[in-house]
């Protein structure tokens, strides 16, 4: 019988939506599910040490495959000496799972031989569960003294969250500047869309780091993904190719992004964006 523990993230007491996707995944494993919430500013060292003490008896310990889960869960794996699988996209049975490797250019199906396994769940691969799970907030009082949270420079916006938005419009190096990104933002606001970016756009300082979509950024799978001035490197595709409909706007007809796009528009984005804004 499976006994499942989900580690959920709370930010200032607020539930983060990834937990609903973890619950959906957990339900495929069994119905004995407990959800523990950890505040985002608790250090991984303290959180993992606390959870390790109560982990005995759980067959599966789940966390979302985002920077929260990726920080804590492997540490817990090291403390418990229980194997961990990252970024689960499919659950076949209580011991058999699939996950992407090589930036999603291959999938591997693996079978676990241990009594306990830790899993990070890729939120886009599991629908959000519709029920509100009962959540136990943990109060971590013991401080190992290894590290201290100093601050979070949060980038706040009124737009929908990148990982849960129905529509995402992303810009790449082709946008050329921070000022030009404002064109995308105005269109995003008309569509109630989130704004994303390629690594090149983040590196160039057009937008903050938390906009990055890709193998090493956020994984998104909206109903509609619009890529503007993005070439379509495999590392970027890894973060968005499960979107339902993909639109690519690029002036280079050979850009690899067109190979996965449902609708391809070969054009200069500086002509297309103003026209789009006007016609929406």
């Amino acid at each position: 019988m499976s006994k499942i523990l989900i580690i959920a993230e709370h930010v200032n007491g607020q539930r983060q939506p990834a937990v609903y996707h973890c619950v959906m995944a957990a339900k495929q494993l069994g119905d004995d599910i407990k959800v523990l919430a950890v505040e985002a500013n608790v250090t991984a060292e303290n959180a993992a040490a606390y959870i390790a003490k109560l982990a005995n008896g759980y067959t599966h310990i789940l966390a979302p495959a985002n920077t929260f889960g990726k920080n804590i869960l492997p540490r817990l794996s090291g403390l418990l000496d229980a194997p961990m699988l990252s970024d689960i996209t499919e659950i076949h049975d209580a011991a058999t799972f699939s996950r992407p490797i090589y930036a999603g250019n291959a999938f591997t199906k693996v079978k676990i031989k241990s009594k306990q396994v830790l899993l990070t769940i890729r939120p886009t691969a599991f629908e959000a569960d519709k029920t509100e799970p009962e959540v136990e907030k943990i109060q971590i009082t013991e401080d190992l003294g290894l590290s201290k949270f100093v601050k979070l420079e949060a980038h706040t916006s009124d737009r929908p969250d990148l990982t849960t938005a129905d529509i995402v419009i992303s810009g790449g190096r082709g946008l050329q500047s921070k000022e030009n990104f404002a064109m995308l933002e105005r269109i995003a606001d008309k569509l109630n869309a989130a704004v994303g970016a390629s690594r090149a756009a983040v590196d160039a300082g057009f937008v903050p780091n938390d906009y990055q979509v890709g193998q090493t950024g956020k994984i998104v799978a909206p109903k509609l993904y619009i890529a503007v001035g993005i070439s379509g490197a495999i590392q970027h595709l890894a973060g968005m190719k499960d979107s339902k409909t993909i639109v690519a706007i690029n002036k280079d007809p050979d850009a690899p992004i067109f190979e996965i796009a449902d609708y391809s528009l070969v054009a200069d984005l500086f002509k297309v964006l103003p026209e789009l804004e006007e016609k929406l």
Partner: protein, 246 residues
């Protein structure tokens, strides 16, 4: 301060990866292999700490076959003082990697371990955190800025919500994100000199370390292909196609 930099040899990030027809893995024969890009960033950060006089001895270590000597030579060319190959033909699980690296951290008397946040082959993003747990050290993952002052490190981390700053007590494990630095290129004379440097080779089996085998790989398959798309000639045509979606 001694710094340990664990590195991994992976299929070069520019090479398109293909799954073998029998689904037993991905094609690696005659394919360009390189140092994992995140590990190059880790090496660069360690080298800069040495240049600032903060680090004294830099050790690069990799776990794998004899073929992995090429990335160790590359590490020598960039400026490490010592390179070690923990030799094995097996593909080891993250917990086994953690056990081995812990032993090497002890052996090299490391106070700081800087490593890539993930290897771009398995995309696990686990080894650094597992190692920190096994050592009982502080950890800062996905670093985009590192400052060492005395026996503490202030690290800015790239998290989903923005940028988080942590203050760590050393010894610690730091895993690197893409924006930590831009790795330098090795200079030709240094590449030549690196050819004659000694790589310490230790068979993993000689370490007498527990190497858990709890994950059985059943098959490796290609991703599901997407349906073929179509070209649109104008913004109007695009909006027409998207009418139901927006």
């Amino acid at each position: 301060m001694n710094i340990l930099i664990p590195i991994k040899r992976v299929i070069d990030y520019k090479v398109p990866v293909r799954v073998k027809p029998d689904h037993s893995g991905v094609v690696t024969e005659n394919i360009k292999m390189s140092m994992n890009p995140f590990d190059e960033i880790a090496l660069e950060e360690a080298i800069r700490l040495k240049e600032k006089g903060i680090a004294s001895q830099l050790t690069a270590v990799t776990i794998g076959t004899q073929a992995c000597q090429d990335i160790l030579r590359h590490a020598y060319a960039l400026g490490v003082d010592q390179a070690m190959l923990l030799e094995t033909d097996k593909s080891l699980e993250p917990l086994a990697i953690g056990n081995i690296l812990k032993a090497i951290a002890d052996k090299t008397d490391a106070q700081l371990i800087i490593m890539g946040k993930q290897a771009i082959d398995d995309d696990n993003n686990q080894a650094g955190q597992i190692l920190a747990a096994k050592l009982g050290w502080a950890q800062a993952c996905f670093a985009s800025e590192v400052n060492i002052e005395g026996d503490s490190a202030t690290v800015v981390r790239e998290v989903d919500g923005g940028l988080e700053t942590l203050k760590l007590q050393l010894p610690a494990v730091i895993t690197t994100d893409l924006r930590l630095n831009e790795p330098r290129l090795a200079k030709l004379p240094d590449i030549m000199k690196a050819k004659s440097k000694t790589i310490e080779i230790i068979p993993v089996s000689d370490l007498g370390i527990d190497l858990p085998e709890q994950i059985e790989i059943l098959e490796t398959t290609p991703p599901k292909p997407r349906a073929k798309g179509q070209m649109v000639g104008s913004v109007d045509e695009l909006l027409e196609k998207l009418r139901d979606l927006m």
